[in-house]
Symmetry: C2
Subunit: 287 residues, 2 copies
């Protein structure tokens, strides 16, 4: 499919996949090489599932779920299929996040460590609860067929906004978690402040996760990389609209070869009116 800035998109997408994948690998190396490994026995081995599952699900998979509509190769797939993939990836991330919470609560309870006292735990639990609410509301409103278009149009900007705020909050929570783990885990003689290999390694993991978030945020906020509207949508038909509008829309969908002069105006008009716009079945995300 034709797409503006296709090669830049591809470069950023591959970078995001690489950095995200590397984050997961770094987390695995951290717990397997520098820490005690993995297990499910209440010890540190069980705790170690916490970072592994969260970086895999809540960072990497959630990040991919956020940009899945923007993959141009999926634009010929039905919207319903893409919504299902978006919801499915987020559901997988949610399940991994819940198992990750079980792991840490289990580990704390077995070892008599109090739960929910740190800022990391407060923000993290809020993020998980908001994520589940987002998943549920998204499923009911956007995936099930019964919600009225007006409700979808009203909730779509909120859904997009919440998704990005939750994603950013998750990244902040992971960075707090890395900080906590390094301070608690690294004690004399290899204190965090003596630049031990584990500290430098886990700091680098933190940077990777930050870069991953920044890449996803760039990809998802470029208006020209949005999935095009469904051509057969009734809402797309100009209803009292003008030839300019129709020509513009078609040109936009068939190669983006419009002149620049009137794009400014449309840009302005669109921005001013976006609040009123009935989103096409609530399927178009707008920032």
């Amino acid at each position: 499919m034709a797409m503006e800035g296709y090669w830049l998109f591809l470069t950023l997408l591959v970078s995001a996949l690489l950095v995200g994948f590397l984050s997961v690998i770094f987390t695995l190396v951290w717990v397997l090489h520098y820490r005690e490994g993995l297990g499910w026995d209440g010890t540190e081995l069980e705790f170690n599932w916490h970072p592994v599952l969260l970086v895999t699900g809540f960072v990497f998979i959630q990040g991919i779920a956020i940009i899945v509509y923007r993959l141009p190769w999926t634009w010929k797939c039905s919207k319903l299929l893409m919504k299902s993939i978006h919801a499915g990836l987020n559901a997988v991330a949610a399940i991994l996040a819940i198992i990750a919470l079980v792991a840490v609560f289990d580990n704390h309870n077995v070892n008599g460590i109090p739960n929910m006292y740190s800022l990391h735990s407060w923000v993290g639990l809020i993020a998980v609860i908001c994520y589940l609410l987002q998943l549920l509301s998204g499923f009911v409103v956007f995936l099930l067929p019964w919600a009225p278009l007006s409700l979808r149009a009203f909730l779509m900007p909120i859904h997009v906004y919440s998704g990005l705020v939750i994603f950013g909050t998750v990244i902040a929570t992971v960075l707090m978690g890395v900080t906590e783990k390094l301070i608690f885990g690294l004690r004399a003689p290899a204190s965090y402040s003596t630049f031990p290999p584990e500290g430098v390694f886990a700091n680098s993991l933190g940077l990777l996760i930050l870069v991953f978030g920044a890449l996803i945020f760039w990809i998802v906020t470029r208006p020209q990389w949005k999935r095009p509207k469904e051509p057969n949508s009734t809402l797309l038909q100009p209803n009292g609209g003008t030839a300019e509008g129709a020509r513009g829309s078609m040109a936009a969908n068939s190669g983006y070869n419009m002149d620049k002069s009137d794009s400014e105006l449309n840009n302005e008009v669109a921005a001013r009116k976006r609040n009123f716009a009935l989103d096409e079945a609530g399927q178009r995300s707008t920032m």
Copy 2:
């Protein structure tokens, strides 16, 4: 000035100001009531300027600087004045951030504590460096009159994106800082894990800062709350444009009373063409 959703904007703005102000107050109470107070002698009193200056400048003032173009009461002010205020607020925030770094390096050096070993310090220093580069490039390209419009148009989306990523990164860094300080500062008998008042209080500060960031992010990403284009801009004149475009633009600027049917089309056209649009003197931020 007329503005879509004026009362919602006002409510969110007042909330943001309140939450931001409360964050600064909480930080002051933290260092003055729970900690050692403020001073400039290399001790903890000097360290304490670090959180106070960063929450004041790098969180609160930076947040206000981000949304300053969106205050409808400023829409009659010249764009140059608003740019100066935007740049000025960010410059103040940068100066406070630098003093905050001096405070912590001073304190570390006097007490023989290593610098730059933690993820908090890595991410924080990267954020400050990016912020200074952003400030400098913004000053040269958007405030000084010599940059060509094409450069401004090219850099504006990057400027907006970088600004938001830096702001989010700063918030994540502050949350890591709160975490570090509570773990290091609270030792037996009042360990962080026993829910001491200071821990609960500083956790609440972390939540306030997160809410502040979320409010600013909502305000700055609503397209209908953008500052309108300058009416006398030559780029606004329809150059080979159509009556639809002109009518739409005028209607949008004088009360947003257009019908919904064609807004979808314009929306789509604008999104597809935004990449091509020469931004009016690079003054219009687009996400």
